[in-house]
């Protein structure tokens, strides 16, 4: 199948402006007649639904949680990037664009990334206008901090709760449109399929999770803002409900899946403590501004961290990457931690952890505070007390969270951290307009593949979600809908709606009728283990081939021995989960196939066969400078389509953070 990325011609920095200047428009009277379905209410979905409602479209928004405010964007901690250059430290739209393309290890589409950098400033303005309480300096102006992979301070933040504050901003804008009657909100609803009529997306089948009823909803266009698929690994920093189902159903109805193997493993998470573990918790990357990462120089050193003297500590990131130190990009930091632990230098009971230490930062900040107070006659205890107060203001909620989970006080002893699955750069393939390969079906935010290449930089997910929802889709969707003004609402008794509803209902019946012996949870755990062991931080040909065989066997077992309690016509969380895990199993197979095809290392995708002598990821631009866009052909059968990547501005080089 032919597919076109629809990148506008012209100079990189003029593309978006030119596009906006020439794009088709829909007049206000016609907007009122056009219906749009938005699935998911995180940053991308809530901002899109609110903005489209404001413009006068009739919007229906869906979320599986009990309120749109619960979407997992809420858990993002560290911050949001923008090219404001408020710090006068040399930032610009070009720098943000450049850093993002480089950080993504030259596997992102330049035109999309440039547009993202261009709209980044307007996002901050919009959020402040909504009353998002970003951190401020004493002069009343906005404060910034650094994140990995950059040398400027461009990250805006609200303590360690930036995602929460941005989402509540978008949520309040959304609820305002609900009050005005422009958006109808469906909570505790899960999209289970997309309805396609004459090759165009025309609606969805959703299940009401309270009473189990299937519902048919028409839309002139359908927007999937359903997040990432990190939960394919079972353990991840995603919320328990995060799933791939909406995106996967779209994929099976013709939407290509882009770069499924591009997974971000975040370097600083609280380590696994036991088999019962249900999820992992992130400790924000912002902590690497002030925390120093180290392991003992001696293998199997069992002394307490505080008893290990300075000269016996290996600050391995500072040693290996002096230019960026502890602020190297996430993929680099994660692999470095794994390397030390694999070599036997890990700490804690499982030996799968490294230290993140704030002692030096506490003393440094303490001395600055003393300086401010003009007090020279102080004890070390005073310095530490003052320093702790500063660290508490910056990261208090994160330190509290760490202590609740581990029972240890990180002000007194270093945190133990280890990498964990956090974000998926891959997702539904979209063109410049965020449209998938199915007409009228769009993907926004983490659900699409477009902006982060093979590795996302910190504080860029929030930026992308809001860019897509507030500032991109309001323009690009009009270009499609302008040709739909003569299409009147299709009644949901149309045969295509009935047929799709029947597919959904048959699948639910099949699942319920297995009546086997094993729980959904146990299958999900087994899938996660295969994925983490063989398609995780390091991948090789043999492992990936084994994983595919194991996943296919697991799938067979799932469909013959699954046990789902309860019934289909009342609240049944086990049934909800079963559908999601069934889709994760299929996705897992595709991820392994994609990882197998990409015989290079790039960003978060590390093929052991492709590394430099120093163990760094080795890209192969000659053979792999493309987006993998997988087309579903049938069970365990996909065709690989390639979108070649051309770099006009940021010429690919070996990424170096040394």
């Amino acid at each position: 199948m032919a597919f076109d990325s629809k990148i506008p011609s012209g100079e990189m920095k003029e593309k978006w402006n030119d596009y906006k200047g020439h794009v088709k428009l829909v007049n206000p009277a016609n907007k009122r007649k056009l219906e749009i379905i938005v699935v998911g209410t995180g940053l991308a979905g809530a901002s899109a639904a609110a903005s489209l409602g404001e413009m006068g479209y009739k919007v229906k928004a869906f979320c599986f949680q009990d309120s749109p405010r619960r979407a997992h964007s809420i858990a993002a901690q560290g911050g949001i990037n923008a090219a404001k250059n408020y710090q006068n430290d040399g930032d610009s739209v070009f720098r943000l664009f450049y850093d993002t393309v480089k950080g993504g290890d030259y596997r992102a589409r330049e035109a999309n990334v440039h547009r993202l950098a261009e709209v980044s400033n307007a996002i901050i303005d919009q959020c402040v206008a909504q009353g998002v309480p970003f951190a401020r300096e004493y002069g009343g102006l906005l404060s910034n901090r650094s994140f990995g992979g950059t040398q400027v301070q461009r990250t805006f933040y609200a303590a360690g709760q930036t995602g929460q504050q941005l989402l509540l901003g978008a949520y309040s804008a959304l609820e305002r449109q609900v009050a005005l009657g422009n958006v109808t909100m469906y909570t505790r609803h899960e999209m289970l399929d997309v309805v396609i009529i004459d090759d165009k997306a025309r609606g969805i089948i959703a299940r009401n999770l309270v009473n189990g009823e299937l519902e048919k909803h028409f839309g002139h266009a359908v927007l999937l803002c359903t997040g990432g698929y990190g939960n394919v690994f079972y353990l991840s920093t995603n919320a328990m409900g995060c799933n791939v189902t909406a995106a996967w159903k779209a994929h099976k109805k013709g939407a290509f899946f882009g770069n499924p193997c591009f997974t971000q493993i975040h370097p600083t998470c609280i380590p696994v403590s036991g088999d019962y573990q249900s999820k992992l918790t992130l400790m924000s990357e912002s902590l690497r501004n002030d925390g120093r990462i180290w392991v003992p120089k001696q293998k199997g050193d069992n002394r307490k961290a505080v008893d290990i003297p300075e000269e016996e500590r290996d600050y391995y990131l500072e040693r290996r990457y002096p230019a960026f130190g502890n602020l190297v990009p996430r993929d680099v930091a994660s692999r470095a931690a794994k390397e030390r632990c694999d070599e036997g230098y890990g700490v804690g009971t499982t030996k799968l952890a490294v230290y993140l230490d704030f002692k030096d930062a506490i003393i440094r900040y303490g001395k600055i505070e003393q300086g401010k107070q003009g007090d020279t006659n102080v004890t070390e205890a005073d310095t530490i007390r003052l320093g702790k107060a500063v660290v508490e203001e910056k990261y208090g909620n994160l330190f509290e969270m760490y202590e609740k989970i581990t029972g240890e006080n990180p002000y007194e002893m270093p945190m133990r951290i280890y990498p964990a699955v956090h974000y998926t750069m891959g997702g539904l393939w979209v063109d410049y307009e965020l449209q998938t390969t199915v007409k009228g079906l769009y993907a926004l935010g983490e659900a699409n593949f477009s902006d982060h290449g093979a590795n996302r930089l910190g504080a860029s997910a929030l930026m992308q979600g809001l860019a897509d929802g507030y500032f991109v889709i309001p323009y690009t969707l009009g270009n499609y809908l302008a040709d739909e003004i003569r299409t009147s609402a299709i009644p949901t008794d149309h045969p295509a709606f009935a047929a799709t509803e029947k597919e959904v209902s048959d699948r639910i019946t099949t699942l319920m009728n297995i009546k086997g012996t094993q729980t959904v949870e146990s299958f999900h755990k087994r899938l996660g283990k295969i994925m983490w062991d063989k398609c995780g931080m390091a991948r090789n040909e043999k492992g990936l081939q084994e994983a595919i065989v194991e996943i296919q066997a697991l799938k067979k077992e799932f469909w013959s021995d699954l046990r789902i309690p309860g019934d289909t016509n009342s609240m049944n969380p086990e049934l909800d989960k079963a559908g999601r895990v069934a889709d994760f199993i299929e996705l897992g197979e595709l991820m392994c196939m994609d990882a197998l095809d990409r015989k290079e290392s790039c960003g978060g995708h590390f093929r052991e066969e492709s590394q430099t002598e120093e163990g760094e990821a080795k890209r192969d631009d000659e053979n792999f400078s493309y987006v993998s866009a997988w087309e579903y052909k049938g069970e365990s059968d996909w065709q690989l389509n390639k979108e070649p990547l051309e770099f006009e501005i940021v010429k690919p080089t070996q990424r170096s953070y040394k």
Binding site: G131, G274, P565, G566
Partner: protein, 254 residues
């Protein structure tokens, strides 16, 4: 931390649906690690129930890191359990000892009807926000973010109020099922910021009117809400909302 395992007796509220009569049922769980979270202990129990052919216990949860506000258990008579400034999902089993009996109920409030077992309907909170918990600024209308300096203390106070996760513990903890802490947190956040000024009066009047319509009770200043709030939202917000309400009422009548 020293780890230990424990055997526990759980008394859990079971209710098939909104119409059914519920009751406390007793369950035993064994070898629970002190390092588990409270909800992981529930996962263990649910796996037991499914394997035994019983219906697992329905409960709300999502992020399991204390920020989404979806988890909502009343544990041994306290919203979110024995730890202060904490959500159910962040409660860990080291809060309990071998042999303990733990009673788990849903949020109890007329405004939060039970859907099933421990799951309640909190959509009343969304409707209160719809009544005015926002600043009316359409996308694209904003001026440069730094064109409006905001006093750091006001910004910090607004942030503290905005930290509310909308879980409903304040309502569950209150003898009157009052939602004053939730509503006042949003009113305060927006009243403290200059961006909130144009709608300051209508906002507080409309949100309070909606709160009353949702059949939340009145505030009688017991401060149980603040004590049980997982995010430490202060009752000072309630005082601020009362002032805002009074001022708004006076100026709209004149």
């Amino acid at each position: 931390m020293e780890h230990y395992n424990m055997n526990l007796t759980l008394k859990v509220w079971r209710q098939r649906n909104n119409q059914a009569t519920g009751s406390l049922e007793t369950y035993l769980v064994k070898d629970i690690s002190s390092e588990m979270s409270f909800l992981e202990m529930f996962d263990v129990l649910n796996e037991q129930l499914i394997v035994a052919g019983d219906d697992p216990i329905a409960f709300d949860h999502d992020c399991r890191e204390g920020i989404c506000g979806q988890c909502s258990m009343h544990i041994n008579g306290r919203a979110h359990g024995p730890w202060t400034k904490n959500t159910t999902c962040q409660l860990h089993m080291r809060a309990f000892q071998d042999g303990d009996t733990i009673v788990v109920e849903p949020w109890r409030s007329k405004a939060f009807p039970v859907i099933k077992d421990l799951v309640v309907d909190r959509s009343a909170f969304d409707r209160v926000i719809q009544a005015g918990g926002y600043i009316s600024v359409n996308t694209g209308n904003a001026v440069d973010a730094n064109s409006l300096p905001i006093d750091k203390k006001d910004a910090d106070d607004a942030f503290m109020a905005a930290a509310c996760i909308g879980c409903g513990a304040c309502v569950a903890a209150c003898v009157n099922s009052s939602a004053m802490l939730f509503v006042s947190a949003k009113v305060s956040q927006l009243a403290l910021l200059p961006q909130g000024e144009p709608e300051r009066e209508s906002r507080v009047l409309n949100m309070v009117a909606q709160m009353d319509k949702e059949s939340f009770g009145n505030c009688s200043n017991t401060y149980a809400c603040e004590a049980e709030c997982p995010k430490g939202i202060s009752v000072a917000n309630i005082a601020r909302m009362n002032r805002e309400y009074l001022k708004a009422g006076l100026s709209t009548e004149s």
